[in-house]
Amino acid sequence: MFRRAPLLMTVLLFGYAFLYGPILSLMVYSFNESRLVTVWGGFSTKWYSELLHNEQILGAAWLSIKIAAINASASVVLGTLAAVALVRYRRFRGRTSLEIMVTAPMVLPDVIIGLSLLLLFVSMQTLIGWPAGRGQTTITLAHITFSMAYVTVVVRSRLAHMDRSLEEAALDLGARPLKVFFAITLPIIAPALVAGWLLAFTLSMDDLVIASFVSGPGATTLPMVVYSSVRLGVSPQINALATLIVVIVAIAVAIAGVLLYRQEKGSNSRKE
């Protein structure tokens, strides 16, 4: 291999080094005995046990996971509905504005989304009294607002590639439209829903800017904790936390990948 395309392999190696080098060193240093991030002081798992007793980080992680899961589920439902409307109904009142609203959160800077949602929540509270204060609810709502856009894009492309005659065949065989949607359309676009859910979950876990705008005193998400603690000096506990997250995400992505691959293999060989 090296002999056949030395330049290509060099480029590839550098690419991987840039991508995974920092993550790898982060993982290695999570097992560092020393408190100093730059000095290797021997192998130890003490940062992991310290992490498990850090109430602040555990609380934030639990909050983030809750928000991410609710956000992902709600985004999949809303995003799928929007995608069905955009793909299956060519013309309806308000189509253009739906299209714009769906794409806007992907191109607007986070700062602007965060600020405008904050203003919205504040004026909603004075006008109708809900949401009372800012915290988990407002962060979740804000995350759904932009995650839904990404889910819509993912589901929409899958739906657009789906053979329309499958739904027509089901209608022809006596199934009513709602039945057709649940028995035929949903199972066929399921891989896109899984992908969309994972994407929305990750986007939510990852968000610092928007959450900072719309959160209140009681609600601190994981990225916010990490960010503020890093400003006071990097603790190897954060390395341990990051390592755990990377491992969990890798496992989730691998499972999703296998699921998607199996589905894809089925529907591809069908088209031949």
Binding site: A169, L171, D172, A175, I184, P187, I188, S267, R270
Partner: protein, 376 residues
């Protein structure tokens, strides 16, 4: 016409006997008509074909029968009931799609059972029907497979079984054999006809393949630009086409431009510069002297005459081209006017010398009953 019938009861019986009746159906996409003012009656138990080139509106017409398109004008009646605005899931009609549209996430048996699950039915009866359908199309060993594990021919059978499972009054088939190779297509044609005869279901088949339509159908509607050009039994469509389009769409044919000289009863004498002789045809239609028309003769109706033999239609030519096709040979003879005439000869003996050779002068003739007059 039913509307001129004096007794209202007569109109009623006429519309109840027709399995499918289309009344002035039109459908346009943008500003062009896909189907333009089509009216026809199809009887219960018929094997009916919609034949025409790609884009002439066959699929659109079928989709209006299934309920996937709503006509801009006209009515669709099924067993005498107005179905124009009834949604697909409430019509006594099933369709076999051109792409087969098998549900990729369901096994063969589940695909076939899908339609049955939409009506109240005991599980035992349903399973029995599924088994019966799989036997009918000979796919019983494949029950557990998924569609992507099937060959093209097997998928076609599953699609047929699924569409027949609900015992529809009418089965619509969009290019049912289009995706199969030639050998399998010929075999399947006969199977389709057998199944149709066994079940007595009305079959309405869309095809662009004239041989397929000829082999399978009891009647053919030849379509052109969204309209029906000619509606006839296969034999009449072949032997007596009414327009140039119909004549040349099915098989090959010789066309002569001619002019009426005189009509004696049903014998019409024509003058034809292209043939270099006067011609004789039979037609019961009234024709005025001087009227221009086209005479159509199939290649196999043109006979090679021995020298001195007489025929009411007699032309002289010289062999220009010979094509040996195994069973028959096709010859092209050029007449003095430059007009090419095609005729065929059966190759009766394997080792016989070719009876005709290139450049040979020949005398050709045909019977007045064996040609038709096209007025358009």
């Amino acid at each position: 016409m039913t509307q001129t019938s004096p007794a209202p009861g007569a109109a009623d019986t006429a519309s109840t006997t027709a399995s499918v009746r289309l009344e002035g159906i039109s459908k346009s996409f943008g500003n062009s008509y896909a189907v333009n003012n089509v009216s026809l009656d199809i009887q219960q138990g018929e094997f009916f074909s919609l034949l025409g080139p790609s884009g002439c509106g066959k699929t659109t017409l079928l989709r209006m029968l299934a309920g996937f398109e709503t006509p801009d004008r006209g009515r669709v009646l099924i067993d005498g009931q107005d179905m124009t605005l009834v949604p697909p899931y409430e019509r006594p009609v099933n369709m076999m799609f051109q792409s087969y549209a098998l549900f990729p996430h369901m096994s063969v048996a589940d695909n076939i059972a899908f339609g049955l699950k939409q009506t109240p039915m005991a599980r035992g009866a349903r399973n029995l029907r599924v088994t019966e359908m799989m036997e009918l199309v000979q796919i019983s060993p494949l029950a557990k497979r998924k569609p992507h594990q099937l060959s093209g021919g097997q998928r076609q059978r599953v699609a047929l079984a699924r569409a027949l499972a609900r015992h529809p009054r009418i089965l619509l088939l969009d290019e049912p054999l289009g995706a199969l190779d030639k050998k399998l297509r010929e075999k399947t044609q006969f199977e389709l006809v057998n199944i149709q005869e066994r079940l007595g279901t009305t079959f309405i088949v869309v095809t662009h393949d004239q041989e397929e339509a000829m082999t399978m159908s009891s009647r053919i509607a030849l379509m052109r630009d969204g309209q029906i050009e000619q509606l006839d039994a296969p034999r009449r469509l072949y032997e007596f086409p009414v327009t140039r389009y119909a004549a040349s769409f099915i098989g090959s044919i010789n066309l002569f431009e001619a002019r009426v000289l005189q009509q004696n009863g049903d014998e019409v004498r024509l003058s034809c510069d292209e043939a270099g002789a006067d011609l004789l045809v039979r037609s019961s239609e009234k024709m005025l002297p001087g009227m221009a028309l086209t005479l159509a003769v199939r290649p196999e109706k043109v006979r090679l005459l021995s020298p001195g033999e007489q025929s009411p239609n007699l032309v002289r030519g010289r062999i220009k081209e010979i094509a040996y096709l195994g069973g028959i040979s096709i010859y092209h003879a050029e007449l003095p006017s430059g007009k090419q005439v095609q005729f065929t000869q059966s190759n009766v003996q394997a080792l016989a010398e070719q009876p005709l050779s290139w450049g040979q002068d020949v005398l050709l003739g045909w019977h007045p009953d064996s040609c038709s007059v096209l007025t358009e």
